[in-house]
Assembly symmetry: C2
Homo-oligomer: 238 residues x 2
Amino acid sequence: MAKVEFNIACTLCEHLKDSLFNGLGPEDISRINNHKTCVQYKKGQNIFYEGTRPTGLYCMNGGKVKVYKNNVQGKEFIIYIAKPGDFLGYRALLSEEFYQATATVLEDAKICFIPKESFFEVLQKNPLFMKRVVQAVCHEMGIMEEKLAELAHKSVRERLAANLIMLKETYGMEGEGSFLIDLALSREDLASIVGTATETVIRLLSEFKTDGLITFEGKKIRILDARKLAKQADLIVA
Amino acid sequence: MAKVEFNIACTLCEHLKDSLFNGLGPEDISRINNHKTCVQYKKGQNIFYEGTRPTGLYCMNGGKVKVYKNNVQGKEFIIYIAKPGDFLGYRALLSEEFYQATATVLEDAKICFIPKESFFEVLQKNPLFMKRVVQAVCHEMGIMEEKLAELAHKSVRERLAANLIMLKETYGMEGEGSFLIDLALSREDLASIVGTATETVIRLLSEFKTDGLITFEGKKIRILDARKLAKQADLIVA
DNA sequence: CTCTCTTACTGACAAAAGTCATCTTTTCCG
DNA sequence: CGGAAAAGATGACTTTTGTCAGTAAGAGAG
């Protein structure tokens, strides 16, 4: 269960093109590359904890990680799920605050750690990169505003449908006219994404299944009828 | 009801010290100052609309503005309430997207408009300012994450209490050992902040009043026992 | 000043969702 | 392989909250 180090040159990283580092000059890439540490994590391991101070940036090279907050009663709320190419923990790093959430590995992951200093150095001498980071952060914020409004006024059924659609957009693998959500989520995790009880998710999922909107494939969900599901997500009665 | 222009030099603006522009060099301040347009708005007027493209930044000089999203059924969710010194509409501006929310005046307001170009110019030639903006945006994002988790797992009662405490922190005026929330909010607006129905807010407020936690003072709310109210906001039974 | 329109309030009821208890199935490890 | 633990599923019940309908009170316009 111990963490295992590995190493991949950033220039050879297959996810570079999906990440915010894409477009950096060779000089900056090599600065990042020379200072990073890459670690393999097993499912269930934690990357960072709520309340601790960030010392750098995590950049996903493989696997899936959930970032979540725990409330007083131990109920989890998942803020987002990081996939290869994503940055992890940049919010707290940039605002110079403590982590406000915990990150735990959902599917065995390879994650590179870039020390704060190196990241900030590249950020400061590269206005275009800075601009793209700001743009990304503000875009994220827009998504959160959307989620807030959704959480405030949509029913659990609508939210579950909406989140399934969203997961399809991000993790969907097309095949046979349907989409497999390539993410082994427990019902409990799905409940933590939607913001509801596990039992409610189970019940609604089996309703969706009965209605022919989805099927289960091992631990994964296949979206059979994205259109109808999207209708369930809306507030439109029609 | 027509908009009325007015003008105040940024250097003389009493809210400069509270704003992100604080700390800018005289050159940059005057660049902002020379390009801004200041307008007085009446209660109920709109500053910008969801779905339109931002053309600049709004900087509050007086009054209060609500920024909210409307869902399909016309239910409002208030994302935040801007006060003097606050920037308005910077998220969409920085992410180069359309506005995702609408801004409407709650209390007669004076708002300065800074064209996109001037703002970006100052931003680009002033790394320290850029850094502070990034920090502010990321801090905001932390607050939204907090709200998200709260909305997902707290009861309406807890959320109302939590929001009253929050309003107290931002708009509270101390006096006689209690705090007056200096913000003329309708029950409907308060419901849109908490994410619930107007009737529910009315009922809970009158419960809080019966329990001696708050009183009403005209359209405003006075917090009598912030400690007890904070307990109502927590999930702790003790 | 009064009429109207909006906002505040109250009650009754229905629907949604959470909780608890129990059972089954799957997964994980020694 | 087998047994324990975790995850999934289902039912019964309670609580919370939203909705609808109707009344009262306050604010604004003429």
